[in-house]
Protein backbone atom coordinates (compact mmCIF):
# COMPACT_ATOMS: atom_id res chain seq x y z
CA UNK A 1 0.00 0.00 0.00
CA UNK A 2 2.65 2.51 1.03
CA UNK A 3 4.68 1.46 -1.95
CA UNK A 4 1.77 2.11 -4.26
CA UNK A 5 1.40 5.49 -2.60
CA UNK A 6 4.94 6.65 -3.23
CA UNK A 7 5.57 5.00 -6.58
CA UNK A 8 4.11 6.89 -9.55
CA UNK A 9 2.69 4.66 -12.24
CA UNK A 10 5.34 5.76 -14.68
CA UNK A 11 8.55 6.14 -12.75
CA UNK A 12 11.43 8.16 -14.11
CA UNK A 13 9.52 11.15 -15.45
CA UNK A 14 8.96 13.95 -12.95
CA UNK A 15 5.21 14.32 -13.32
CA UNK A 16 3.10 16.56 -11.12
CA UNK A 17 -0.18 15.22 -12.46
CA UNK A 18 -0.88 12.04 -14.34
CA UNK A 19 -4.37 11.20 -15.55
CA UNK A 20 -4.87 7.84 -17.25
CA UNK A 21 -8.03 6.76 -19.06
CA UNK A 22 -10.29 8.76 -16.76
CA UNK A 23 -14.06 8.73 -17.23
CA UNK A 24 -16.81 10.49 -15.36
CA UNK A 25 -20.59 10.37 -15.54
CA UNK A 26 -23.27 12.61 -14.00
CA UNK A 27 -26.03 10.03 -13.79
CA UNK A 28 -26.38 8.83 -17.40
CA UNK A 29 -24.52 11.80 -18.82
CA UNK A 30 -20.96 10.97 -19.86
CA UNK A 31 -19.12 14.23 -19.00
CA UNK A 32 -15.52 13.12 -19.31
CA UNK A 33 -14.45 10.50 -21.83
CA UNK A 34 -11.10 8.74 -21.67
CA UNK A 35 -9.03 11.68 -20.45
CA UNK A 36 -5.26 11.19 -20.59
CA UNK A 37 -3.14 14.04 -19.35
CA UNK A 38 0.42 14.37 -18.09
CA UNK A 39 1.54 17.57 -16.45
CA UNK A 40 5.21 18.04 -15.72
CA UNK A 41 6.42 20.00 -12.74
CA UNK A 42 6.49 23.77 -13.39
CA UNK A 43 4.41 23.31 -16.50
CA UNK A 44 1.65 25.85 -17.22
CA UNK A 45 -1.41 24.47 -18.94
CA UNK A 46 -4.43 26.33 -20.24
CA UNK A 47 -7.65 24.40 -20.78
CA UNK A 48 -10.24 25.96 -23.06
CA UNK A 49 -13.36 24.88 -24.87
CA UNK A 50 -17.04 25.73 -25.24
CA UNK A 51 -19.20 25.86 -22.11
CA UNK A 52 -20.37 22.46 -20.92
CA UNK A 53 -17.41 20.69 -22.50
CA UNK A 54 -16.24 19.33 -19.14
CA UNK A 55 -13.17 21.51 -18.63
CA UNK A 56 -14.21 22.67 -15.15
CA UNK A 57 -15.24 19.13 -14.23
CA UNK A 58 -11.82 17.91 -15.30
CA UNK A 59 -9.87 20.18 -12.98
CA UNK A 60 -12.41 19.66 -10.20
CA UNK A 61 -11.69 15.93 -10.44
CA UNK A 62 -8.04 16.63 -9.71
CA UNK A 63 -8.71 17.61 -6.08
CA UNK A 64 -11.76 15.40 -5.74
CA UNK A 65 -14.43 18.08 -5.64
CA UNK A 66 -15.84 15.70 -8.24
CA UNK A 67 -15.34 11.94 -8.12
CA UNK A 68 -14.15 10.13 -11.25
CA UNK A 69 -15.60 6.70 -11.89
CA UNK A 70 -13.04 5.02 -14.09
CA UNK A 71 -9.33 5.41 -14.76
CA UNK A 72 -6.53 6.70 -12.55
CA UNK A 73 -5.41 10.07 -11.29
CA UNK A 74 -1.95 10.45 -9.72
CA UNK A 75 -0.91 13.70 -8.06
CA UNK A 76 2.73 13.99 -7.04
CA UNK A 77 2.97 10.23 -6.91
CA UNK A 78 -0.15 9.75 -4.78
CA UNK A 79 -3.14 8.02 -6.29
CA UNK A 80 -6.42 9.85 -5.89
CA UNK A 81 -8.97 7.27 -4.76
CA UNK A 82 -11.47 6.73 -1.96
CA UNK A 83 -8.74 6.69 0.66
CA UNK A 84 -9.37 9.79 2.81
CA UNK A 85 -5.68 10.01 3.73
CA UNK A 86 -4.77 10.35 0.07
CA UNK A 87 -7.47 12.95 -0.54
CA UNK A 88 -6.29 14.92 2.46
CA UNK A 89 -2.67 14.87 1.27
CA UNK A 90 -3.57 15.82 -2.28
CA UNK A 91 -5.81 18.70 -1.19
CA UNK A 92 -2.98 20.13 0.89
CA UNK A 93 -0.78 19.90 -2.17
CA UNK A 94 -3.18 21.59 -4.59
CA UNK A 95 -4.51 25.13 -4.34
CA UNK A 96 -7.70 26.07 -6.10
CA UNK A 97 -9.16 29.38 -7.23
CA UNK A 98 -12.84 29.53 -8.15
CA UNK A 99 -14.85 31.59 -10.57
CA UNK A 100 -17.00 32.96 -7.73
CA UNK A 101 -13.98 33.53 -5.40
CA UNK A 102 -15.70 31.59 -2.57
CA UNK A 103 -14.07 33.63 0.16
CA UNK A 104 -15.57 33.07 3.61
CA UNK A 105 -17.71 36.19 4.12
CA UNK A 106 -17.87 35.89 7.91
CA UNK A 107 -14.09 36.11 8.27
CA UNK A 108 -11.74 39.00 7.54
CA UNK A 109 -9.23 38.77 4.70
CA UNK A 110 -6.52 37.88 7.21
CA UNK A 111 -8.68 35.21 8.87
CA UNK A 112 -9.56 33.76 5.46
CA UNK A 113 -5.85 33.35 4.74
CA UNK A 114 -4.94 31.93 8.17
CA UNK A 115 -7.83 29.49 8.63
CA UNK A 116 -6.45 26.47 6.78
CA UNK A 117 -2.78 26.95 7.76
CA UNK A 118 -3.81 27.05 11.44
CA UNK A 119 -6.31 24.17 11.39
CA UNK A 120 -4.89 21.92 8.69
CA UNK A 121 -1.15 22.56 8.85
CA UNK A 122 -1.32 23.26 12.64
CA UNK A 123 0.81 26.37 12.27
CA UNK A 124 1.05 28.79 15.21
CA UNK A 125 -1.15 31.85 14.64
CA UNK A 126 1.78 34.27 14.52
CA UNK A 127 3.54 32.30 11.82
CA UNK A 128 0.32 31.86 9.82
CA UNK A 129 -0.29 35.61 9.95
CA UNK A 130 3.23 36.37 8.78
CA UNK A 131 2.84 34.00 5.83
CA UNK A 132 -0.55 35.49 5.04
CA UNK A 133 0.87 39.02 5.08
CA UNK A 134 3.66 37.92 2.78
CA UNK A 135 1.20 36.61 0.19
CA UNK A 136 -1.18 39.53 0.60
CA UNK A 137 1.75 41.80 -0.23
CA UNK A 138 2.48 39.70 -3.28
CA UNK A 139 -1.06 40.13 -4.55
CA UNK A 140 -0.75 43.83 -3.63
CA UNK A 141 -3.52 44.20 -1.05
CA UNK A 142 -1.79 44.08 2.37
CA UNK A 143 -3.78 47.19 3.41
CA UNK A 144 -7.10 45.30 3.11
CA UNK A 145 -6.14 42.57 5.61
CA UNK A 146 -8.66 43.58 8.28
CA UNK A 147 -11.60 44.11 5.94
CA UNK A 148 -14.34 41.61 5.22
CA UNK A 149 -14.61 40.15 1.70
CA UNK A 150 -17.96 41.92 1.22
CA UNK A 151 -16.19 45.26 1.45
CA UNK A 152 -13.77 44.52 -1.41
CA UNK A 153 -14.15 44.73 -5.18
CA UNK A 154 -14.37 41.57 -7.25
CA UNK A 155 -10.78 41.83 -8.44
CA UNK A 156 -9.54 42.34 -4.91
CA UNK A 157 -11.57 39.38 -3.70
CA UNK A 158 -10.12 37.11 -6.35
CA UNK A 159 -6.59 38.22 -5.41
CA UNK A 160 -7.36 37.42 -1.78
CA UNK A 161 -8.58 33.99 -2.93
CA UNK A 162 -5.27 33.43 -4.71
CA UNK A 163 -3.33 34.53 -1.61
CA UNK A 164 -5.48 32.24 0.55
CA UNK A 165 -4.54 29.26 -1.63
CA UNK A 166 -0.86 30.20 -1.66
CA UNK A 167 -0.80 30.32 2.15
CA UNK A 168 -1.11 26.53 2.10
CA UNK A 169 2.15 26.48 0.15
CA UNK A 170 0.80 24.27 -2.66
CA UNK A 171 2.87 22.65 -5.40
CA UNK A 172 0.07 22.87 -7.94
CA UNK A 173 -2.52 25.59 -8.53
CA UNK A 174 -5.85 25.04 -10.26
CA UNK A 175 -7.76 28.02 -11.63
CA UNK A 176 -11.40 27.53 -12.60
CA UNK A 177 -12.32 30.49 -14.83
CA UNK A 178 -10.78 32.94 -12.36
CA UNK A 179 -11.66 36.08 -14.32
CA UNK A 180 -15.08 35.16 -15.72
CA UNK A 181 -17.05 36.88 -12.93
CA UNK A 182 -15.02 40.10 -13.08
CA UNK A 183 -15.57 43.50 -14.68
CA UNK A 184 -13.20 44.14 -17.59
CA UNK A 185 -11.29 46.73 -15.55
CA UNK A 186 -10.51 44.17 -12.86
CA UNK A 187 -9.49 41.26 -15.06
CA UNK A 188 -6.03 42.67 -15.61
CA UNK A 189 -5.13 42.99 -11.93
CA UNK A 190 -5.94 39.30 -11.41
CA UNK A 191 -4.14 38.17 -14.56
CA UNK A 192 -1.04 40.15 -13.49
CA UNK A 193 -0.91 38.18 -10.26
CA UNK A 194 -1.29 34.94 -12.19
CA UNK A 195 1.48 35.88 -14.62
CA UNK A 196 3.78 36.59 -11.67
CA UNK A 197 2.94 33.21 -10.25
CA UNK A 198 3.62 31.50 -13.58
CA UNK A 199 6.97 33.24 -13.90
CA UNK A 200 7.99 31.91 -10.50
CA UNK A 201 7.56 28.36 -11.71
CA UNK A 202 4.29 27.29 -10.14
CA UNK A 203 2.68 24.27 -11.76
CA UNK A 204 -0.59 25.69 -13.05
CA UNK A 205 -3.74 24.38 -14.68
CA UNK A 206 -6.03 27.14 -15.75
CA UNK A 207 -9.47 26.97 -17.30
CA UNK A 208 -9.94 30.33 -18.98
CA UNK A 209 -11.19 32.21 -22.00
CA UNK A 210 -8.42 34.81 -21.74
CA UNK A 211 -6.54 33.89 -24.88
CA UNK A 212 -4.06 36.73 -24.46
CA UNK A 213 -3.10 35.26 -21.10
CA UNK A 214 -2.83 31.82 -22.69
CA UNK A 215 -0.45 33.12 -25.32
CA UNK A 216 1.85 34.79 -22.78
CA UNK A 217 2.18 32.16 -20.09
CA UNK A 218 1.07 28.76 -21.35
CA UNK A 219 3.46 25.95 -22.11
CA UNK A 220 0.60 23.99 -23.56
CA UNK A 221 -3.00 24.67 -24.52
CA UNK A 222 -5.60 21.93 -24.27
CA UNK A 223 -8.84 22.18 -26.20
CA UNK A 224 -11.83 20.16 -25.03
CA UNK A 225 -15.23 19.53 -26.51
CA UNK A 226 -18.08 17.29 -25.30
CA UNK A 227 -15.99 15.65 -22.63
CA UNK A 228 -12.95 14.83 -24.75
CA UNK A 229 -9.54 16.35 -25.24
CA UNK A 230 -9.65 17.23 -28.94
CA UNK A 231 -6.30 18.85 -29.32
CA UNK A 232 -3.27 19.85 -27.30
CA UNK A 233 -0.33 21.88 -28.49
CA UNK A 234 2.07 24.68 -27.61
CA UNK A 235 0.26 28.04 -27.76
CA UNK A 236 1.93 29.26 -30.93
CA UNK A 237 0.96 26.25 -33.02
CA UNK A 238 -2.40 26.02 -31.30
CA UNK A 239 -3.46 29.52 -32.27
CA UNK A 240 -1.73 29.80 -35.64
CA UNK A 241 -2.24 26.29 -36.92
CA UNK A 242 -5.10 24.45 -35.24
CA UNK A 243 -5.39 20.83 -36.36
CA UNK A 244 -9.06 19.95 -36.02
CA UNK A 245 -12.12 21.63 -37.53
CA UNK A 246 -13.75 21.92 -34.11
CA UNK A 247 -10.78 23.90 -32.78
CA UNK A 248 -10.77 26.13 -35.84
CA UNK A 249 -14.47 26.88 -35.37
CA UNK A 250 -13.99 27.63 -31.68
CA UNK A 251 -11.03 29.92 -32.29
CA UNK A 252 -12.82 31.76 -35.08
CA UNK A 253 -15.64 32.55 -32.68
CA UNK A 254 -13.63 33.79 -29.74
CA UNK A 255 -10.68 35.55 -31.36
Amino acid sequence: MTQAMTQPATAGEDLAIEVKGMHKWYGDFHVLKDINLNVKRRERIIICGPSGCGKSTLIRCLNRLEVHQRGEIWIDGIELNDDLKHIEKIRRDIGMVFQQFNLFPHLTVMENCCLAPIWVLKKPRREAEETAMHYLERVKIPDQADKYPGQLSGGQQQRVAIARSLCMNPNIMLFDEPTSALDPEMIKEVLDVMVDLANEGMTMLCVTHEMGFAKTVADRVIFMDSGEIIEENDPESFFSNPQSDRTKLFLSQIL
Binding site: N63, R64, L65, E88, R91, R92, I94, G95, M96, F98, Q100, N102, L103, F104, P105, H106, L115, A116, W119, V120, Y148, P149, G150, Q151, R164, S165, M168
Partner: protein, 364 residues
Protein backbone atom coordinates in the same frame (compact mmCIF):
# COMPACT_ATOMS: atom_id res chain seq x y z
CA UNK B 1 -8.15 66.23 -25.46
CA UNK B 2 -10.65 67.61 -22.94
CA UNK B 3 -10.30 66.72 -19.27
CA UNK B 4 -13.42 65.41 -17.55
CA UNK B 5 -14.14 67.08 -14.22
CA UNK B 6 -16.80 65.26 -12.13
CA UNK B 7 -19.77 67.41 -11.04
CA UNK B 8 -19.88 68.20 -7.30
CA UNK B 9 -22.48 66.34 -5.18
CA UNK B 10 -25.63 68.43 -4.67
CA UNK B 11 -27.70 68.39 -1.45
CA UNK B 12 -30.96 66.39 -1.69
CA UNK B 13 -34.22 68.36 -2.26
CA UNK B 14 -35.48 69.84 1.02
CA UNK B 15 -38.84 68.04 0.80
CA UNK B 16 -37.14 64.65 1.05
CA UNK B 17 -35.33 65.23 4.37
CA UNK B 18 -36.28 66.42 7.86
CA UNK B 19 -39.60 65.92 9.66
CA UNK B 20 -41.73 66.94 6.69
CA UNK B 21 -39.82 64.66 4.36
CA UNK B 22 -40.09 61.80 6.83
CA UNK B 23 -43.86 62.26 7.33
CA UNK B 24 -44.44 62.56 3.62
CA UNK B 25 -42.49 59.40 2.89
CA UNK B 26 -43.75 57.27 5.76
CA UNK B 27 -47.24 58.56 6.64
CA UNK B 28 -48.77 60.29 3.62
CA UNK B 29 -47.09 58.73 0.60
CA UNK B 30 -50.43 57.85 -1.04
CA UNK B 31 -54.17 58.52 -0.45
CA UNK B 32 -54.58 55.05 1.08
CA UNK B 33 -51.60 55.63 3.35
CA UNK B 34 -53.03 58.97 4.48
CA UNK B 35 -56.37 57.37 5.33
CA UNK B 36 -54.62 54.60 7.25
CA UNK B 37 -52.48 57.12 9.15
CA UNK B 38 -55.53 59.17 10.18
CA UNK B 39 -57.47 56.02 11.08
CA UNK B 40 -54.64 54.75 13.26
CA UNK B 41 -54.37 58.15 14.91
CA UNK B 42 -58.10 58.06 15.72
CA UNK B 43 -57.84 54.60 17.28
CA UNK B 44 -54.90 55.68 19.44
CA UNK B 45 -56.71 58.79 20.68
CA UNK B 46 -59.91 56.86 21.29
CA UNK B 47 -58.53 53.81 23.11
CA UNK B 48 -55.16 54.66 24.65
CA UNK B 49 -56.35 57.13 27.35
CA UNK B 50 -58.90 54.69 28.87
CA UNK B 51 -56.26 51.98 29.02
CA UNK B 52 -53.76 54.31 30.67
CA UNK B 53 -56.43 55.50 33.11
CA UNK B 54 -57.33 51.93 34.05
CA UNK B 55 -53.79 50.58 34.31
CA UNK B 56 -52.00 53.54 35.88
CA UNK B 57 -53.90 56.72 36.77
CA UNK B 58 -56.99 55.19 38.45
CA UNK B 59 -55.21 52.04 39.60
CA UNK B 60 -54.91 50.97 43.22
CA UNK B 61 -51.41 50.21 44.40
CA UNK B 62 -51.48 50.50 48.22
CA UNK B 63 -53.00 48.14 50.77
CA UNK B 64 -53.09 44.40 51.25
CA UNK B 65 -56.76 43.39 50.95
CA UNK B 66 -59.40 43.82 48.28
CA UNK B 67 -61.03 46.56 50.37
CA UNK B 68 -58.14 48.78 49.40
CA UNK B 69 -59.33 48.72 45.78
CA UNK B 70 -61.81 51.59 45.63
CA UNK B 71 -60.68 53.80 42.77
CA UNK B 72 -62.34 51.89 39.95
CA UNK B 73 -59.11 51.25 38.05
CA UNK B 74 -56.95 48.16 38.10
CA UNK B 75 -56.41 46.51 41.47
CA UNK B 76 -52.66 45.79 41.44
CA UNK B 77 -52.88 45.00 45.15
CA UNK B 78 -53.95 41.50 44.11
CA UNK B 79 -50.76 41.00 42.15
CA UNK B 80 -48.68 42.62 44.89
CA UNK B 81 -50.01 40.34 47.61
CA UNK B 82 -49.53 37.26 45.46
CA UNK B 83 -46.22 38.30 43.91
CA UNK B 84 -43.89 35.91 45.75
CA UNK B 85 -46.15 33.00 44.81
CA UNK B 86 -46.24 34.11 41.17
CA UNK B 87 -42.44 34.20 41.21
CA UNK B 88 -41.54 31.11 43.24
CA UNK B 89 -44.62 28.87 43.35
CA UNK B 90 -44.73 26.86 46.57
CA UNK B 91 -40.99 27.01 47.13
CA UNK B 92 -40.33 27.46 50.90
CA UNK B 93 -40.04 31.18 51.64
CA UNK B 94 -36.87 30.80 53.71
CA UNK B 95 -35.16 29.20 50.71
CA UNK B 96 -36.00 31.89 48.11
CA UNK B 97 -32.40 33.09 48.24
CA UNK B 98 -31.34 29.87 46.50
CA UNK B 99 -33.53 30.58 43.50
CA UNK B 100 -32.48 34.23 43.38
CA UNK B 101 -28.81 33.25 43.63
CA UNK B 102 -29.12 30.63 40.86
CA UNK B 103 -30.85 33.02 38.44
CA UNK B 104 -28.60 35.90 39.48
CA UNK B 105 -25.53 33.82 38.68
CA UNK B 106 -27.02 32.77 35.35
CA UNK B 107 -27.80 36.41 34.59
CA UNK B 108 -24.21 37.41 35.29
CA UNK B 109 -22.82 34.56 33.15
CA UNK B 110 -25.13 35.34 30.22
CA UNK B 111 -24.38 39.05 30.43
CA UNK B 112 -20.68 38.22 30.49
CA UNK B 113 -21.04 36.16 27.32
CA UNK B 114 -23.31 38.60 25.48
CA UNK B 115 -21.60 41.90 26.28
CA UNK B 116 -18.72 42.64 23.95
CA UNK B 117 -15.11 42.84 25.07
CA UNK B 118 -15.41 41.00 28.37
CA UNK B 119 -12.23 38.97 29.04
CA UNK B 120 -11.90 35.15 29.11
CA UNK B 121 -15.13 34.44 27.21
CA UNK B 122 -14.22 30.85 26.39
CA UNK B 123 -13.57 30.00 30.06
CA UNK B 124 -16.86 31.59 31.09
CA UNK B 125 -18.66 29.69 28.32
CA UNK B 126 -17.12 26.39 29.46
CA UNK B 127 -18.09 27.18 33.05
CA UNK B 128 -21.65 28.01 32.00
CA UNK B 129 -22.05 24.78 30.07
CA UNK B 130 -20.19 22.36 32.33
CA UNK B 131 -20.23 23.66 35.90
CA UNK B 132 -23.23 25.97 36.15
CA UNK B 133 -25.85 23.24 35.58
CA UNK B 134 -24.49 21.36 38.61
CA UNK B 135 -24.54 24.49 40.78
CA UNK B 136 -28.06 25.30 39.59
CA UNK B 137 -29.26 21.77 40.31
CA UNK B 138 -27.89 21.86 43.87
CA UNK B 139 -29.38 25.30 44.49
CA UNK B 140 -32.81 24.50 43.08
CA UNK B 141 -33.21 20.92 44.27
CA UNK B 142 -30.88 20.64 47.25
CA UNK B 143 -28.04 18.45 48.43
CA UNK B 144 -24.57 19.28 49.75
CA UNK B 145 -26.15 20.42 53.04
CA UNK B 146 -29.03 22.34 51.47
CA UNK B 147 -32.47 20.93 52.33
CA UNK B 148 -34.17 19.16 49.41
CA UNK B 149 -37.10 20.99 47.77
CA UNK B 150 -39.17 18.55 45.69
CA UNK B 151 -39.99 19.66 42.15
CA UNK B 152 -43.73 19.68 42.88
CA UNK B 153 -43.09 22.73 45.06
CA UNK B 154 -41.45 24.58 42.15
CA UNK B 155 -43.71 26.98 40.32
CA UNK B 156 -44.43 30.41 38.94
CA UNK B 157 -41.97 32.40 36.89
CA UNK B 158 -39.14 30.32 38.34
CA UNK B 159 -40.55 27.15 36.78
CA UNK B 160 -41.27 28.91 33.48
CA UNK B 161 -37.68 30.10 33.29
CA UNK B 162 -36.27 26.69 34.20
CA UNK B 163 -38.36 25.00 31.51
CA UNK B 164 -37.46 27.60 28.90
CA UNK B 165 -33.75 27.78 29.69
CA UNK B 166 -33.20 24.04 29.75
CA UNK B 167 -35.38 23.64 26.65
CA UNK B 168 -33.27 26.15 24.71
CA UNK B 169 -30.03 24.75 26.09
CA UNK B 170 -30.83 21.35 24.55
CA UNK B 171 -32.92 22.32 21.53
CA UNK B 172 -30.18 24.27 19.72
CA UNK B 173 -27.41 21.62 19.75
CA UNK B 174 -29.88 18.79 19.10
CA UNK B 175 -31.35 20.83 16.27
CA UNK B 176 -27.91 21.34 14.73
CA UNK B 177 -27.12 17.63 14.93
CA UNK B 178 -30.49 16.70 13.41
CA UNK B 179 -30.11 19.24 10.60
CA UNK B 180 -26.64 17.95 9.75
CA UNK B 181 -27.97 14.40 9.92
CA UNK B 182 -30.80 15.19 7.55
CA UNK B 183 -28.39 16.67 5.01
CA UNK B 184 -25.82 13.92 5.44
CA UNK B 185 -25.00 11.68 2.51
CA UNK B 186 -24.87 8.68 4.82
CA UNK B 187 -28.22 6.87 4.62
CA UNK B 188 -28.62 5.75 8.24
CA UNK B 189 -28.05 9.09 10.00
CA UNK B 190 -30.21 10.73 7.35
CA UNK B 191 -33.08 8.26 7.78
CA UNK B 192 -32.94 8.53 11.58
CA UNK B 193 -32.99 12.34 11.45
CA UNK B 194 -35.87 12.47 8.98
CA UNK B 195 -37.96 10.02 11.01
CA UNK B 196 -37.22 11.85 14.26
CA UNK B 197 -38.01 15.30 12.84
CA UNK B 198 -41.18 14.27 11.03
CA UNK B 199 -42.44 12.29 14.02
CA UNK B 200 -42.08 15.15 16.48
CA UNK B 201 -43.30 17.80 14.09
CA UNK B 202 -46.37 15.77 13.32
CA UNK B 203 -47.59 15.76 16.92
CA UNK B 204 -48.91 18.73 18.94
CA UNK B 205 -46.81 19.63 21.97
CA UNK B 206 -49.83 19.19 24.21
CA UNK B 207 -50.04 15.55 23.11
CA UNK B 208 -46.34 15.07 23.79
CA UNK B 209 -46.73 16.43 27.31
CA UNK B 210 -49.83 14.36 27.92
CA UNK B 211 -48.07 11.21 26.71
CA UNK B 212 -45.04 11.93 28.86
CA UNK B 213 -47.09 12.34 32.01
CA UNK B 214 -49.94 9.86 31.56
CA UNK B 215 -48.93 7.17 29.07
CA UNK B 216 -45.24 6.81 29.83
CA UNK B 217 -45.64 5.73 33.47
CA UNK B 218 -47.99 2.93 32.33
CA UNK B 219 -45.22 1.35 30.30
CA UNK B 220 -42.47 1.88 32.83
CA UNK B 221 -41.55 -0.53 35.62
CA UNK B 222 -43.21 0.26 38.97
CA UNK B 223 -40.02 1.12 40.78
CA UNK B 224 -38.65 3.38 38.06
CA UNK B 225 -40.28 6.74 38.56
CA UNK B 226 -38.97 9.64 36.56
CA UNK B 227 -39.83 13.05 37.92
CA UNK B 228 -42.76 14.73 36.14
CA UNK B 229 -40.74 17.89 35.53
CA UNK B 230 -37.91 15.91 33.95
CA UNK B 231 -40.39 14.14 31.64
CA UNK B 232 -41.90 17.47 30.61
CA UNK B 233 -38.41 18.86 29.98
CA UNK B 234 -37.41 15.93 27.81
CA UNK B 235 -40.66 16.30 25.86
CA UNK B 236 -40.21 20.03 25.29
CA UNK B 237 -36.53 19.70 24.34
CA UNK B 238 -37.07 16.91 21.82
CA UNK B 239 -40.16 18.60 20.36
CA UNK B 240 -38.45 21.96 19.87
CA UNK B 241 -35.21 20.45 18.57
CA UNK B 242 -37.20 19.03 15.65
CA UNK B 243 -38.40 22.54 14.77
CA UNK B 244 -34.95 23.95 15.36
CA UNK B 245 -33.49 21.35 12.98
CA UNK B 246 -35.70 22.54 10.15
CA UNK B 247 -34.85 26.19 10.79
CA UNK B 248 -31.15 25.38 10.71
CA UNK B 249 -31.53 23.21 7.63
CA UNK B 250 -32.95 26.26 5.90
CA UNK B 251 -29.76 28.14 6.76
CA UNK B 252 -27.56 25.29 5.54
CA UNK B 253 -29.41 25.13 2.23
CA UNK B 254 -29.23 28.88 1.71
CA UNK B 255 -25.44 28.73 1.76
CA UNK B 256 -23.80 28.62 -1.69
CA UNK B 257 -22.17 25.27 -2.45
CA UNK B 258 -18.92 27.12 -3.19
CA UNK B 259 -18.37 27.66 0.52
CA UNK B 260 -18.02 23.98 1.34
CA UNK B 261 -16.08 23.41 -1.88
CA UNK B 262 -13.60 26.12 -0.90
CA UNK B 263 -13.27 24.57 2.55
CA UNK B 264 -12.70 21.12 0.98
CA UNK B 265 -10.19 22.47 -1.49
CA UNK B 266 -8.21 24.03 1.37
CA UNK B 267 -8.02 20.60 3.00
CA UNK B 268 -10.34 21.24 5.98
CA UNK B 269 -11.97 18.09 7.36
CA UNK B 270 -15.77 17.69 7.41
CA UNK B 271 -16.08 18.82 11.04
CA UNK B 272 -13.59 21.65 10.63
CA UNK B 273 -15.49 22.89 7.59
CA UNK B 274 -18.77 22.60 9.50
CA UNK B 275 -17.70 24.44 12.63
CA UNK B 276 -15.40 27.03 11.06
CA UNK B 277 -17.08 27.82 7.77
CA UNK B 278 -20.57 26.41 7.28
CA UNK B 279 -22.36 26.65 10.65
CA UNK B 280 -21.21 30.18 11.57
CA UNK B 281 -22.72 31.43 8.32
CA UNK B 282 -25.80 29.20 8.32
CA UNK B 283 -26.68 30.06 11.93
CA UNK B 284 -26.19 33.76 11.24
CA UNK B 285 -28.65 33.63 8.33
CA UNK B 286 -31.32 31.97 10.44
CA UNK B 287 -30.99 34.06 13.62
CA UNK B 288 -34.57 35.34 13.12
CA UNK B 289 -35.82 31.75 12.79
CA UNK B 290 -33.85 30.51 15.79
CA UNK B 291 -35.08 33.33 18.00
CA UNK B 292 -38.58 32.74 16.70
CA UNK B 293 -38.34 29.13 17.85
CA UNK B 294 -36.94 30.24 21.21
CA UNK B 295 -39.81 32.66 21.71
CA UNK B 296 -42.28 29.95 20.75
CA UNK B 297 -40.60 27.57 23.19
CA UNK B 298 -40.81 30.18 25.93
CA UNK B 299 -44.53 30.68 25.43
CA UNK B 300 -45.25 26.98 24.88
CA UNK B 301 -44.03 26.25 28.41
CA UNK B 302 -47.51 27.42 29.48
CA UNK B 303 -48.84 24.11 28.17
CA UNK B 304 -47.32 22.23 31.12
CA UNK B 305 -50.48 23.40 32.89
CA UNK B 306 -52.28 20.32 31.56
CA UNK B 307 -49.94 17.93 33.32
CA UNK B 308 -50.32 19.79 36.60
CA UNK B 309 -47.09 21.76 36.67
CA UNK B 310 -47.62 25.24 38.09
CA UNK B 311 -45.84 27.58 35.69
CA UNK B 312 -46.44 31.34 35.79
CA UNK B 313 -49.71 31.31 33.88
CA UNK B 314 -51.27 28.41 35.76
CA UNK B 315 -50.30 29.77 39.15
CA UNK B 316 -51.85 33.14 38.25
CA UNK B 317 -54.99 31.33 37.14
CA UNK B 318 -55.15 29.27 40.29
CA UNK B 319 -55.02 32.49 42.33
CA UNK B 320 -58.31 33.59 40.73
CA UNK B 321 -60.04 30.83 42.70
CA UNK B 322 -59.08 32.35 46.04
CA UNK B 323 -62.42 33.39 47.61
CA UNK B 324 -60.78 36.48 49.11
CA UNK B 325 -59.78 37.73 45.64
CA UNK B 326 -62.62 36.78 43.30
CA UNK B 327 -63.01 38.92 40.21
CA UNK B 328 -59.48 40.12 39.55
CA UNK B 329 -58.64 37.88 36.63
CA UNK B 330 -58.03 40.80 34.23
CA UNK B 331 -55.25 42.15 36.45
CA UNK B 332 -53.77 38.66 36.74
CA UNK B 333 -53.77 38.04 32.99
CA UNK B 334 -52.39 41.51 32.21
CA UNK B 335 -49.58 40.90 34.70
CA UNK B 336 -48.75 37.45 33.30
CA UNK B 337 -48.94 38.78 29.74
CA UNK B 338 -46.61 41.64 30.61
CA UNK B 339 -44.03 39.27 32.13
CA UNK B 340 -44.08 37.01 29.06
CA UNK B 341 -43.88 40.04 26.78
CA UNK B 342 -40.84 41.45 28.58
CA UNK B 343 -38.90 38.20 28.14
CA UNK B 344 -39.94 37.60 24.54
CA UNK B 345 -39.38 41.21 23.51
CA UNK B 346 -35.90 41.19 25.06
CA UNK B 347 -35.01 38.09 23.04
CA UNK B 348 -36.32 39.74 19.90
CA UNK B 349 -34.33 42.94 20.49
CA UNK B 350 -31.17 41.01 21.24
CA UNK B 351 -31.52 39.03 18.03
CA UNK B 352 -31.81 42.25 16.02
CA UNK B 353 -28.71 43.58 17.73
CA UNK B 354 -26.90 40.34 16.96
CA UNK B 355 -27.86 40.48 13.29
CA UNK B 356 -26.45 43.99 12.99
CA UNK B 357 -23.28 43.01 14.84
CA UNK B 358 -22.60 40.00 12.65
CA UNK B 359 -23.29 41.83 9.39
CA UNK B 360 -20.03 41.87 7.46
CA UNK B 361 -20.97 43.08 3.99
CA UNK B 362 -21.62 46.56 2.67
CA UNK B 363 -23.43 48.70 5.23
CA UNK B 364 -26.51 50.33 3.74
Amino acid sequence: MSVHTPHPDLPPPSTSVGIIGWARKNLFSSPLNSVLTLGALYLVVRFLPPVINWAILDANWAGSTRDACTDGGACWVFVKVRLTQFMFGFYPADQYWRVILAFGLLGVLIAWLLIEKTPKKSWVAAFTILVYPIIAFVLFYGGLGLPVVETNKWGGLMLTLILATIGMFFALPFGIILALGRRSSMPIPRALSVVFIELWRGVPLITVLFMSSVMLPLFMPEDLRIDKLVRALVGISLFQSAYMAEVIRGGLQALPKGQSEAADALGLSYWQAMFLVILPQALKTVIPGIVNTFIELFKDTTLVLIIGLMDLLSIVQSAFADPKWLGFSVEGYVFAGLVYWIFCFSMSRYSQHLERKLHTGHKR
